[in-house]
Subunit: 255 residues, 2 copies
């Protein structure tokens, strides 16, 4: 596995899969941002000089990286292709997420060929099952595993997500997860949301800990959701959750 770098001061870096200082290492402002490769909303990055920006609304950043390889005329090594294929499967929930584009499917098919993967569906299901294995992990680790923090019109909002083959795996641990969310919230958050996304049923059980749960309710057009609510059809944080939250927080600020 590659080493994890927590400090980037003084280095030239390319931001990948986000364009947001909040999601970068703490000393990112002391680094030179030389490029940006992403498929999320723009996070307000400013630079002093022109840089390379590869940002497109694909289902996975690796589809864009595949485009960069093609554009540069470089063949993708077999091991890298396999990792990139896994990333596309993970980000698109095996092409079921509404973020999926035709380019994601095409890139995955080409990467599978290079990686020697014959049956993408079988390979992908095995991968998603492995990712669903949460046994032995603490609630706080499950929460922080894929947590993203956003500045929503002045409020700090954390949105975590677990993508699971079947929610029965976590059903017994909801109280434990809510307790972990409350502890995390004390780190200056207005709201912590945890998306328990059921890949099979194509929906999300949304767990909510918030200073003002009404903003979350108004975002989704719901009432009295308490500490969790089932959102049918909602599987994408980026496309179905973050934009509606942003608009709700903007509306709240305008009042």
């Amino acid at each position: 596995a590659p080493s994890i770098q927590t400090s980037v001061a003084g280095q030239r870096v390319i931001l990948v899969d986000h364009s947001d200082y909040l999601q970068a290492p703490a000393d990112i402002t002391k680094a030179t941002v030389a490029g940006l490769v992403d498929h999320h909303k723009l996070g307000g990055l400013t630079t002093d000089e022109p840089i390379e920006v590869w940002v497109f609304p694909t289902g996975c950043t690796n589809t864009i990286i595949a485009r960069m390889y093609t554009s540069a005329g470089i063949l993708i090594p077999r091991e890298i292709a396999c990792g990139m294929l896994g990333a596309i499967i993970s980000d698109t929930l095996l092409f079921r997420s509404p973020t999926t584009t035709q380019e994601d499917r095409d890139a995955a098919a080409k990467l599978a060929q290079t990686a020697g993967v014959e049956d993408i569906q079988a390979f992908g299901l095995k991968q998603l099952q492995a990712k669903s294995s949460i046994e032995g992990m603490s609630a706080i680790n499950l929460l922080k595993q894929d947590l993203k923090t956003f500045d929503m019109h002045g409020q700090k909002v954390g949105v975590a997500q677990l993508e699971l083959i079947d929610l029965s795996i976590v059903a017994a641990r909801k109280d434990e997860l809510l307790s972990a969310m409350k502890i995390l919230k004390d780190e200056g958050y207005h709201s912590i949301l945890l998306m328990l996304t059921d890949i099979g049923k194509q929906g999300t059980d949304l767990l909510v800990v918030s200073d003002n749960v009404r903003i979350i309710e108004s975002a989704f057009g719901l009432k009295e959701i308490g500490d969790s609510v089932w959102l049918p059809g909602v599987v994408s944080r980026k496309k179905q959750v973050v934009p509606v939250l942003l608009r709700a927080f903007e509306g709240d600020r305008a009042q």
Copy 2:
């Protein structure tokens, strides 16, 4: 000629050649930004949803637009190709600006072929000469013709540029231009700079009207420049002027 739109409220727009609300129509925040095509530094744009971003450090945005045509598999119509060629010549000062990349040269050669332009150098010189014709234009119009306004670490700074075949054309009008700069500065600017760029000699006579001329001096490592200074080799606002100004204003704020 295309019509000029000064209002974009309620529309879906693609920002082209800038990524900066300061350079967009006043009601840009009421529009939906659906894409961004640019070759300048990132200006801090945020969006609620992922968008298409084609930003690369080429000499001209039209080189990127040519890339978009190729990527989409669409042939460029002859009239559009001619306009795009003119834009690349203008932005790269006929390939002499340090911002020029090999991709700009290649795109221009291909566009010339489509447009039926046999001798790019002759075509380009005629274009730059026509652009140098400033007779009959008022000083304030000359100043505002290509003025860009930047937020430099909290200070409003305007940088205008005239690219001329030969500076003798404006030599007699410097006092008049400085007066126009002083009038413009009263619109809340910390500094107004006018780059009189000599394409032939490859340098810029920089006219300065500023609340604190020392920041401008420190940016270029100069002393006592008064209201104008010759900067040999400097022809690019984007690459040679704006980045050094940004660093100088940042340094000033840090004191």
